[in-house]
């Protein structure tokens, strides 16, 4: 029984991502699916921010006055470009990825080809990020039409969104990789995404709140996306933008590496 006495090979250490351009094949697969059903997929991310701008921005905004004479549409507009795409990106890498992984066996089929597990995870995150960036364009154009953008610097929201949305997607995929059932994804949205949507400073200034609220908010990703978007949209850019970008980079990379690790654990048995 030599086999029984051999130490089980196991590496607890860091494993460098096994990623090539094949990750794009996974992205293309998801794009093909989206193109089959894009009309029904596109309606929700379009209607919801539109209604929000109309009801909160214009409707409720009539009753809101800031000390520094800010238009409420201009206040929530850039924030909506942050938080609605957050929904698109995280939902794609939560419900979407879980369904493909668990229900459909799609990932099992893909990793039997020369595409690696890490490339599957990377392709999923890229696709989640893409869904988020698509939403950035919808919502951005809408905010523009509602007059919520005050500075041409707002164009820089686009490159920033290329960082923010894959970050959201990677965080979401971490949770998905550890979820036993599809309904447990509800916890992620109920306790993590929804609070960020409402409380990360998108709809009211956090500095009017007790100090601990802003401290908690500082540790949430949405806060660091809303803040620079708003700064760029209003044209009042200061050094916090650099801090926010650094925050997104660090958390984005950490979430990406964690997602790769957790997906390996989930898919390789």
């Amino acid at each position: 029984m030599t086999a029984a006495t051999l130490p089980r090979p196991r590496s607890f250490g860091f494993k460098w991502p096994d990623v090539t351009l094949r990750a794009l094949h996974v992205w293309r697969r998801n794009r093909d699916v989206y193109m089959n059903v894009w009309l029904s997929e596109a309606i929700w991310p379009f209607v919801e921010p539109f209604m929000t701008l109309l009801a909160l921005g214009v409707g409720l905004g009539n009753f809101i006055e800031f000390e520094q004479d800010i238009d409420y549409v201009a206040f929530i507009g850039p924030a909506l470009i942050a938080v609605y795409p957050m929904w698109s990106a995280t939902a794609e890498c939560a419900w979407g990825s879980f369904f493909r992984m668990d229900q459909q066996g799609t990932f099992d089929a893909v990793i039997a080809t020369p595409v690696s597990v890490d490339e599957v995870s990377t392709g999923e995150i890229l696709w989640g990020g893409t869904r988020g960036v698509m939403s950035v364009f919808y919502v951005g154009l809408m905010v523009l039409a509602f007059g919520g953008i005050e500075s041409p610097l707002a164009i820089l929201i686009i490159p920033l969104s290329l960082l923010a949305n894959p970050m959201f997607a990677a965080i979401s995929l971490c949770y998905t990789a550890t979820s036993k059932t599809i309904s447990s994804l509800n916890y992620f949205f109920a306790t993590y995404i929804t609070p960020q949507f409402w409380l990360s400073g998108a709809f009211f200034p956090l500095d009017e709140m007790p100090g601990w609220v802003e401290v908690i908010a500082w540790f949430t990703p949405a806060y660091h996306v809303v803040r620079p978007y708003r700064a760029l949209s209003s044209g009042e850019v200061d050094s916090t933008v650099a801090i926010d970008i650094a925050w997104m980079l660090v958390v984005g990379i950490a979430a990406y590496l964690a997602a790769l690790h957790l997906m390996r654990r989930r898919l390789i048995k």
Partner: protein
């Protein structure tokens, strides 16, 4: 240092057209559970090799290790002379995988499924188009190109999964229970296609727990149970060695087995196995068992040729029904 394993060294001395899969003392453990417990075998180029065994025997685990989707716990496993631990992408590029559960992509059409799958192998678009048409034609699916997967019957899905496994022109087609769950017509059609592929020189490794399937398709067979090899050989050899030539089935029904057993015990040259209410009496041509002496004590007696199912029942020591 990249030390050459002894199998690799052996390979250098062998003609290139012999083995294509080599397993030595292959072990797979999941925590406390040992799914594959030190099996060794070789698959030769151009043959159809069958891996047989009851559910839970370790067939699928073995296949998954060959497909490089499940890490080997210990032992050596070479596919096309490449070790599975280090050459995963190259190995996966040379395999055609047909998994047990159809994991076709339900979000895509028949054509899109194959298109996406060909991309995973980096097959250029024009080559892919050619091969897709070829594969769909071979499996008589050309008029279903635009169908969604859930519009296909079980048999059509299976054919599409096999067609998908051929897109990368694999050196080895690995099929895990290719006809489980299909109706007889669909099974025979799949068998016909697989025989055609074998005649074209495609090496095949298949698992099954249908003995007629193994007898139909396989050149050589390995029977495993509880992660260990319990028999190996060609279907004919196995039947001859393990079950003899003839079988007498004594269906006891509700009758008392004691008198029959007493009578059978008088013939110590006979090999008798009992599953549920049926006794199987194995014998060889010249000294065949004459069951007339027990006719009155049994409900029904059937004389027939020994087949692979007898081998399987005899070796795995339990009826196929027991695993359900």
């Amino acid at each position: 240092m990249t030390s050459q394993t002894y199998i690799e060294a052996e390979a250098a001395a062998l003609p290139a057209d012999s083995q294509i899969i080599v397993a030595r003392n292959l072990v797979k453990r999941y925590g406390e559970l040992t799914a594959v417990n030190g099996i060794s075998f070789e698959v030769r180029r151009g043959e159809c090799f069958g891996l047989l065994g009851p559910n839970g025997a370790g067939k699928t685990t073995t296949i998954r290790m060959i497909n490089c989707v499940s890490p080997v716990t210990s032992g050596e496993l070479l596919v096309d002379w490449m070790p599975v631990q280090t050459r995963q992408r190259r190995i996966k590029a040379t395999l055609g995988v047909v998994p047990q559960d159809d994991n076709l992509d339900p979000d895509l059409t028949v054509y899109q499924n194959l298109r996406a799958y060909a991309r995973y192998f980096d097959i250029p678009r024009d080559v892919a188009e050619e091969r897709i048409t070829e594969a769909l034609t071979l499996f008589q699916l050309n008029d279903r190109r635009k169908d969604k997967i859930d519009q296909l019957s079980g048999g059509l899905k299976r054919r599409l999964t096999i067609a998908r496994g051929l897109l990368n022109s694999p050196k080895i087609l690995v099929l895990d229970e290719p006809t489980t769950g299909l109706d007889p017509q669909a099974r025979h059609l799949v068998w016909q296609k697989l025989r055609y592929l074998r005649s074209q020189g495609v090496t095949m490794l298949l698992t099954t727990h249908y003995m007629d399937e193994a007898a139909h398709l396989c050149d050589r067979i390995l029977i495993i149970d509880e992660g260990r090899i319990i028999a190996a050989g060609t279907p004919d050899e196995l039947v001859r060695e393990q079950a003899g030539t003839d079988v007498v089935e004594v269906h006891l029904g509700d009758s008392d087995p004691a008198p029959v057993m007493r009578e059978l015990l008088k013939h110590d040259e006979l090999n008798v196995e009992r599953y549920a209410d049926i006794l199987y009496v194995f014998s060889r041509g010249e000294n065949g068992f004459d069951a007339r002496s027990i006719e009155d004590d049994a409900e029904r007696i059937v004389y027939r040729r020994a087949n692979l199912e007898d081998v399987f029942l005899k070796l795995t020591g339990r009826g196929l029904a027991a695993e359900a």
